[in-house]
Amino acid sequence: MSRKIKVLMAKLGLDIHWRGAVAVSRMLRDAGMEVVYLGNQFPEEIINAAIQEDADVVGLSTLGGNHAVLGPKVVRLLREKGMGDVLVLMGGVIPRDDMPALKKAGIAEVFGPETQIQEIVDFIHANLKKASAAS
């Protein structure tokens, strides 16, 4: 049985800039996904929420410079909990040079400031790892 793609969206750690995360959340909802906006959360809480919500996708938003440390931490904790099939995406202000390390750590894609939301929607449909969600 197919169900809506479930996306958890979090502001990562202490980052205060919520505009992008909220706008993207609403637009993913417009695209037919179920979006839970968690507000500011640290990696441990994000994992707990991902388990509870049985999320297909975790979106991490940060413009606060903590991407390099906290992004990989989220992926690592997910894998430790046996949830390596959750698609982890990142968005925000992130230097290009940091992207290879983030991808190597298991962040599926990093979306910069001028991303069109359709690109994110298409990426999710093309890369969803969990079989249970509808594409």
């Binding site: 750690g13 202490l14 637009m27 500011n40 606060g64 903590n66 910069g112």
Partner: protein, 531 residues
């Protein structure tokens, strides 16, 4: 193709403006000469001939000793003021060694944990001569960093009347514009905001203890009208509270300052600046019956719009920022920060920061635009737009008051929804191409990637700050600290001004995080409406 045109905030724009568009306005009454009510043309009669706007480039990254180097670099190259931004753990009230700070220490701003850090940050900077903008954002952060700044002055033997500078100190930043994992209730944040202002009114004659931050509200998602209206509504709420505490309006109003975001709609931004002065004058004069004309002076800092910077073709941002800076001058700003081209990636490199500084200097000495006061006055369009902006700002202030005032509008989440709706609509307009961004969704270049620019790397800071904290905690006088913390806790429970308690805690080498923890425990936490 439609032939309807609007400003960014939605004011219809005609093909042509003519005398009849401003026929109803009496020059002396509605516009007035510079330095004369209602101050549309500027708060000083001679404006930039008397004093140029302060060149105040933002700096903040790494540990205090790293950032101290950047401050001195900017001053050596002709900056006339200091402008410090702090990292997120500092802003949100956590020490560098707290688990919440992981990954954020020294990023996007400088890390300050203690009085000693503040002293390192301003080492060799003459704080009795240079005016310092200390961008504390939140009231809960302000009361600590402001106390550190004052105790630093005490230790240097500098009297408080020599200190000149500005704090941001805006409860809207704490509760609405910025989200966070642990947020103080709006009423508590507003109390701390007013405590800092009250304390400065009595002790710091040259200090601006508040800079109502329209800027970050705009960046979060509002138009120019809302930006100014919310800031003025906050000034109204502050004035009411301080008057309730027994201060006369003329004792504090002249130390209120404002902070605007100048975006791309050139004439609307200029009209916004002019209109904001007019509305503030009305409020202070008519509602609060200020007698001192300086109480009715709206003085403001401008930063060019970070939200308009693109990561694609980043050098285009030099043009955007220069044009926004020009609008700030036509708007009569008192000080200016021009964003750097690389800020869609990181904090600016030294080279990018220098271009911003040079842009300011080019505007000041090469373009001649500062040589006459308010040169756009009398333009049928600009004057019409100024009056229309003023009307819409008043209407939005009235809307806020109808809903119980600004604190109530935050508590109910109404303001958060206003911002969120605007941000969503803007993003849709960009997606549809209705709102054009050169190089991004319009005339996208073939190789529309980021260009190869050098991006600033934050120095590794976390371990250095942790080591300093360990040493400090071992060294300090535990008894004095414990006493100061008890008095701080008591101060939170009463209505007395918190500042003397915080200063004593700072003198006892309490860390920023320790003080903020007391605030969180005593005031409780508040659920941010969007989460």
């Amino acid at each position: 193709m439609t032939d309807e045109y609007y400003t960014e905030s939605g004011i219809p724009v005609k093909l042509l403006y003519a005398p009849e568009d401003i026929a109803g306005y009496d020059y002396e009454k509605e516009i007035g000469f510079p330095g004369k009510p209602p101050f549309v043309r500027g708060v000083y009669p001679n404006m930039y001939r008397g004093r140029l706007f302060t060149v105040r480039q933002l700096a903040g990254f790494g540990a205090p000793e790293d950032c101290n180097e950047r401050i001195k670099f900017l001053l050596r190259h002709g900056a006339t003021g200091v402008n410090i931004v702090f990292d997120l753990p500092t802003v949100r009230g956590y020490d560098s060694d707290s688990p919440e700070a992981e990954g954020n220490v020294g990023a996007c701003g400088v890390a300050i944990d203690s009085l000693e850090d503040m002293e390192r940050l301003f080492q060799d900077v003459p704080i009795d001569q240079v005016s310092a903008s200390v961008v504390t954002h939140l009231p809960s952060t302000t009361v600590v960093l402001m106390a550190m700044y004052m105790v630093m002055a005490e230790n240097r033997g500098i009297s408080f009347d020599k200190l000149s500078g500005t704090n941001q100190n805006d409860f809207i930043m704490e509760t609405t514009v910025g989200s966070g994992p642990e947020i103080l209730p709006p009423q508590a944040s507003f109390r701390l905001q007013c405590d800092a202002i009250e304390f400065a009114t009595k002790n710091l004659p040259r200090w601006n203890p508040v800079s109502y931050n329209g800027y970050n509200l705009r960046e979060a998602g509002t138009n120019a009208v809302q930006e100014v209206a919310v800031a003025i509504a906050n000034a109204i709420a502050t004035a009411e509270e301080l008057i309730r505490r027994g201060l006369p309006v003329d004792s504090f109003a002249r130390r209120m300052s404002f902070f605007w975001d100048l975006c791309n709609d050139f004439f609307e931004e200029i009209a916004k600046c002019r209109a904001s002065r007019k509305v503030f004058h009305e409020v202070m004069k008519e509602r609060f019956h200020a007698q001192d004309e300086r109480s009715c002076h709206m003085r403001f800092h401008v930063q060019t719009a970070g939200i308009t910077l693109t990561a694609v073709e980043p050098f285009n941002n030099v043009a955007r920022s220069a044009i926004q800076g020009l609008a700030a001058i036509f708007g009569g700003a008192q000080s200016l920060h021009i964003d750097s081209y690389d800020e869609a990636y990181s904090a600016p490199t030294e080279q990018a920061a220098l271009i911003s500084l040079r842009t300011q200097q080019i505007l000041q000495v090469e373009t001649n635009v500062v040589n006459t006061v308010d040169p756009l006055a009398g333009s049928y369009f600009v004057e019409y737009l100024t009056m229309e902006m003023a009307r819409r700002i008043r209407d939005y202030v009235a809307e806020i008051e109808k809903r119980g005032g600004l604190v109530a509008c935050v508590e109910s989440g109404w303001l958060h929804r206003e911002i969120s709706n605007y941000a969503y609509q803007q993003q849709k307009a960009i997606e549809s191409g209705e709102r054009k961004i050169v190089g991004v969704n319009y005339l996208k270049a073939d190789h529309a990637h980021s260009g190869e620019i050098e991006v600033f790397r934050y120095p590794d800071t976390e371990e250095r700050q942790k080591a300093k904290l360990r040493a400090l905690r071992e060294r300090r006088d535990g008894k004095r600290l414990a006493e100061a913390m008890i008095s701080l806790r008591t101060g939170c429970k009463t209505n007395e001004n918190i500042m003397p308690h915080v200063m004593e805690a700072v003198r006892a080498n309490a860390t920023l995080g320790e003080i903020e923890k007391v605030f969180r425990e005593e005031f409780g936490l508040w659920q941010f409406p969007l989460a």
